[in-house]
């Protein structure tokens, strides 16, 4: 399967934060959810893909081209939706269309105005007066107007109401009907990717915690609950984000480790949200125990 986006061994260090050996790839024709808590490195990774952040080592290819060397050719075919608008807010949609048109060989004005209409965006109103959801749709309309084959969304749904979020998912579901396209969707609202994403990459503290199909992720992890005294010590070792409270415990567990657990323990499949929460807890727990060891 041909990869539309491929990241190999990406490293990037800042004073207070570093991306460490990021590896993942998105095959053509699919949607990847890019999740992780705030500050896990999602935006830095996206900035590296766009050549806005210089990479220390590693290689990123988009459409099979090098993200540094071929950045202009890549951007011709790339659409980006940020969490905030990146255009002059005192202009209206018509004026913005005039501004952007000459930059893209593949720009299609007809498509632009069709999309604007379809998304219920007025073309004579200042884009600064658009609601957050309208701004997001406006950025998507721009991406579609130059026939972007890969759309990268950086936290597009933060601060959006449920209706606007649902509209975006509709648009993306329609977009990906063409199997030559791809979507990389960064978000911390995992309900958004839970349904439509084919692949999921979880970043945690600047490292890839998981990358692969969403189904495999949700099938391989479960939330286990019960009384702590029923929990064998060998099993406790394997738990992720172990959390004890007065009447029992809960934790994340790999479904492989579920074989032979005592009947008194309950388990159910884990949502991406729960997986993220337990990863974060595991982190705290580790730091906590290290602290004690010192």
């Amino acid at each position: 399967m041909e990869n539309i986006l491929e990241i190999n061994g990406l490293c990037k260090a800042y004073e207070d934060f570093a991306l460490k050996d990021i590896n993942f790839s998105l095959p053509k024709g699919f949607i990847m959810g890019f999740v992780g808590e705030n500050g896990s490195g999602k935006t830095t990774t996206i900035r590296a893909i766009l050549n806005m952040a210089r990479i220390d080592s590693g290689k990123i290819s988009v459409f099979g081209m090098d993200s540094v060397k071929d950045t202009i050719a890549i951007k011709e075919r790339l659409g980006v939706v940020f969490d905030s608008l990146y255009l002059a807010e005192h202009l209206n949609a018509r004026q913005i269309e005039q501004q952007l048109k000459p930059f893209y060989k593949g720009w299609d004005s007809q498509e632009f105005f069709n999309r604007i209409k379809e998304f219920d965006l007025p073309d004579n109103k200042k884009i600064g007066d658009f609601s957050k959801g309208m701004k997001m749709k406006f950025m998507v309309a721009i991406a579609l107007s130059h026939k972007a084959e890969l759309i990268i969304l950086d936290e597009p749904t933060s601060g959006l109401d449920p209706v606007a979020r649902d509209e975006l998912l509709d648009i993306l579901a329609e977009y990906i009907e063409d199997e030559n396209r791809g979507v990389l969707f960064s978000t911390h609202i995992t309900a958004d990717v839970e349904r439509i994403a084919d692949y999921v990459t979880i970043l945690h503290n600047g490292k890839v915690w998981y990358t692969g199909t969403k189904d495999e992720l949700t099938e391989n992890y479960a939330v286990i609950k019960g009384a702590e005294e029923d929990l064998p010590a060998a099993l406790k070792e394997k738990l992720i984000g172990f959390h004890a409270y007065r009447n029992g415990f809960d934790a994340l567990i790999r479904t492989n480790d579920l074989a032979g657990i005592p009947d008194s323990l309950e388990y159910e499949k884990a949502s991406i949200d729960e997986i993220l929460i337990y990863i974060a807890k595991e982190d705290k727990y580790e730091r906590h125990s290290q602290h004690h060891a010192v």
Partner: protein, 123 residues
């Protein structure tokens, strides 16, 4: 073809699709050789991932409920399809087994059960 996805269901989405498609193929709601929506269309309509619909279609094709025609898409398997026929026979036997068991539990003789079945078939 009517498919309803329940997000809160314990069943994975691909299994929900498979079950509902099977039921509609078996009870004839969907006629034989009818074309099904493409994998990507279905994913779009249900707002679910392409991998999920691919998995459902692959499973259904493996079990003989639907067939993939290269370059054209997916179709409901014809009734004379060996696999589908086998599947239907299995469903029938399964139902008969239950019928017989229920009849015996109710204290009917085998002859009475056969009579009841004949009556039922004559409508």
């Amino acid at each position: 073809m009517k498919i309803v996805i329940k997000n809160k269901s314990e069943l994975p989405i691909y299994e929900q699709i498979e079950q509902q498609m099977k039921a509609q193929i078996l009870d004839g709601t969907v006629s034989e050789e009818e074309q099904l929506p493409s994998i990507r269309q279905l994913a779009r309509d249900l707002k679910i991932s392409v991998i999920t619909t691919t998995r459902a279609y692959n499973d259904l094709a493996d079990e003989g409920f639907i067939i993939s025609v290269a370059g054209k898409g997916y179709f409901v398997a014809p009734r004379n399809n060996e696999l589908l026929r086998e599947r239907m026979l299995y469903e029938m036997e399964d139902g008969l087994e239950k019928t017989v068991l229920n009849g015996r539990n109710a204290g009917l003789t085998d002859a009475e059960i056969v009579t009841a079945l004949r009556k039922f078939m004559e409508g």
